[in-house]
Amino acid sequence: MSHHNDSAKFLVGVYDDDEVVLKAVTEVKSAGVRIHEVYTPFPIHGLDVALGHPRTRIGIAAFLFGLTGFLTMVSLTYYTMGYDWPMIIGGKDNYAYPAYIPVMFELTVLFTALGMVGTFLVSNGLGPTVKPLMFDLRSTDNKFVMAIDLSKNRQSEVEIASVLRASGAAEVNVKQF
């Protein structure tokens, strides 16, 4: 993970309370400070909206993967049962599609799950060899951490630190990668 250059310097506001950090996002933003990201030990509803993150489109990907799974099984059952080796079973059509609905459904679910989770991992840059950028190790435990990229803000370090404190940060630290 090195899309940040060596000199990337962050100011890290550490909050004790999920409700405080949610309000703090709005306050810090209205003070004109650009927030890099907020890291939390559990999902806080409305935090992504407050930060202005766009709504995820992963649902579209999931749908397309599901459709692919469905069409794969439609093709496979059609090819095997209707075309390559047609058999008359129980006096029905070779391609007796109602009997294939269960397998079509299963493959739809399988492709949706694997494709969607794969997309999620890729789009978030997650993988077994990824070293995460941890601004504060407690952000996976009990603290709520707001990271401010100093190079992306015009205000001085001290100014931003006081904005963070005013918004309820219990600590303000410097983190350099």
């Binding site: 100011l11 004790d16 999920d18 409700e19 990201e37 890291y39 939390t40 030990p41 559990f42 999902p43 992504d48 930060l51 993150h53 995820t56 992963i58 649902g59 999931a62 095997t80 390559d84 080796w85 129980g90 007796a96 009997a99 294939y100 269960p102 397998v103 459904f105 299963e106 493959l107 679910v109 949706t112 799950a113 694997l114 969607m116 989770v117 999620f120 978030n124 840059g125 997650l126 993988g127 077994p128 060899t129 990824v130 070293k131 995460p132 941890m134 504060d136 190790l137 407690r138 952000s139 996976t140 435990d141 009990n142 603290k143 370090e157 001290v158 630190a161 303000v172 630290n173 410097v174």
Partner: protein, 475 residues
């Protein structure tokens, strides 16, 4: 501000902070194995080794070592298969259906219940492989081009549907469970003191850092996974039931099977969750997270699904009589009064009568009663499958070929194998992974805690209240 509704009983007791949740759950993972765990693990492992020897002999020598005969061609193998798959269903029900219904009590039990699902499906799959007799040819069940002029599998057959259903179910459950683990694995990674555990938990936590954007997407995919797992879990036992229902054997050829099997699956699965959680709760001292509220809620589901199963048994009987088909009528009378009457009545007593005791609030909030009744329910559900399979087969159309089934030591040994496998895996899970979903419990602390501490965050490991030591402070 969130205020705990007085109507609802709390789901987390003891005024836990976020740091307490981390500490209480991680303690088991980080500490040395306890005496209880070691003893339990050794016993399970010995059982697994004994079972593995039996399974090996079954494969080496062939299915002749089982008590099957030409009349009863399916017995303990498929009984065990259906039993284990059914048990697995509760995990998905808890993690997916209760998520869709926004039932908060799922958060303390979903992790272990999903682990149970995965291990139970593995046990079930092992019986599928065993009953093939020649498990090295298991891939014949897949639609692969082959040496026999590309004769394909028959997609009209529920047995082929089952191959797809079980493998999809296993894969999706594993993915769902693992995705749920990732944020908690990151917590363990960030607390780890040894290099080895930092490396291992680091690799498995996939570089998770809990950013708001990641969380938003994460919640979205969890919802979709729950949304697709719900019809999936219903489809799996529906298809399992169709293995029987699409045949023309009296006693199997029953349209009520799909809902009846699904209800039975949830019934037995919740009973197994109760057994596992009641022990985990005491051994790992998790009474503040798995409260009487959880136990009671699960017992209510056991009562509901047990009643559905009871109604299904009676409906089956009524329909057998109402159909006017003498073979159908005989199959059911033979179940109730024939040579396997004891299995039938064991099923009826365990499944229909015993869960009705949970109408008493005192009984459904009692640990002992819950544990005992859950064991009874699972015995009953095993007998249900035995009754359906063996009593429907053993007296077929020609009285000259009527037979009885009696298990050999390999029928029993192969069943014991599945217990060894299940408990060995579950104990490994309980030691090396967080048995309770930490981040989901933290997320409900505000709305479902008995009393909120003054500072909900608490003090993290290695941190003192007065002087933060993690990073350089800005003056």
């Amino acid at each position: 501000m969130h205020v705990t509704s007085p109507v609802r009983t709390p789901l987390v007791t003891g005024g836990k902070t976020y740091a307490d949740v981390t500490e209480d759950i991680c303690k088991q993972v980080e500490g040395k194995p306890t005496r209880e765990w070691t003893i339990a693990f050794v016993i399970s492992f010995v059982v697994l080794i004994y079972g593995t020897c039996c399974v090996f002999w079954t494969w080496w020598e062939g299915l002749g070592v089982w008590g099957l005969n030409k009349t009863v061609g399916w017995a303990w193998d498929i009984t065990n298969f259906v039993w284990w798959v059914g048990i697995g269903h509760a995990g998905t029900l808890i993690s997916a259906i209760l998520l869709l219904f926004r039932m908060k009590y799922r958060t303390s039990i979903n992790r272990a219940a999903e682990a149970m699902t995965i291990f139970a499906v593995l046990c079930a799959a092992s019986f599928i492989l065993m009953h093939m007799g020649r498990p090295w040819l298991a891939y014949w069940a897949l639609p692969l081009p082959n040496a026999f002029g590309s004769l394909w599998v028959n997609f009209n057959s529920p047995l082929v549907w089952d191959v797809f259903a079980i493998s999809t179910y296993f894969t999706v459950s594993l993915v769902f469970w693992y995705m749920g683990l990732v944020p908690d694995l990151a917590t363990i990674r960030d607390r780890a003191t040894s290099k080895v555990s930092r490396y291992i938990y680091g690799a498995f936590s996939l570089g998770w850092n809990g950013g708001a954007k990641t969380w938003a997407r994460y919640e979205y995919i969890s919802l979709i996974l729950a949304g697709i797992s719900t019809p999936l879990v219903l489809s799996v036992h529906t298809i399992v039931s169709m293995d029987f229902a699409t045949s023309v054997i009296p006693g199997w050829h029953t349209t009520i099977f799909p809902p009846y099997f699904v209800a039975g699956a949830i019934f037995s699965g919740f009973a197994m969750v109760q057994n596992l959680m009641l022990i985990t709760r005491v051994v790992f001292k998790l009474e503040d997270y798995i409260t009487f509220e959880h136990i009671e809620s699960m017992n209510k589901i056991i009562t509901l699904t047990g009643s559905i199963v009871g109604v299904a048994y009676i409906t089956e009987f009524f329909i057998a009589w109402y159909s006017g088909v003498e073979y159908e009528r005989y199959a059911f009378l033979n179940r109730m009064l024939g040579p396997y009457w004891w299995a039938y009545w064991a099923m009826m007593t365990c499944n229909v009568i015993s869960p009705q005791l949970f109408w008493s609030r005192k009984i459904r909030r009692s640990v002992t009663w819950t544990f005992v009744l859950s064991v009874i329910v699972n015995i009953g559900m095993w007998f249900e499958r035995f009754v359906i399979i063996v009593t429907s087969l053993h007296r077929d159309y020609l009285p000259s070929s009527w037979a009885m089934f009696s298990p050999t030591m390999f029928d029993i040994g192969d069943y014991i194998f599945s217990f060894g496998l299940f408990f060995t895996l579950f104990l490994l899970f309980a030691k090396f992974l967080p048995v309770i979903n930490m981040f989901e419990v933290k997320a409900i602390i505000r709305s479902a805690s008995e009393k909120l501490p003054k500072s909900v965050s608490g003090v993290a490991k290695g941190e003192s209240v007065t002087s933060p030591t993690f990073n350089k402070n800005v003056e």
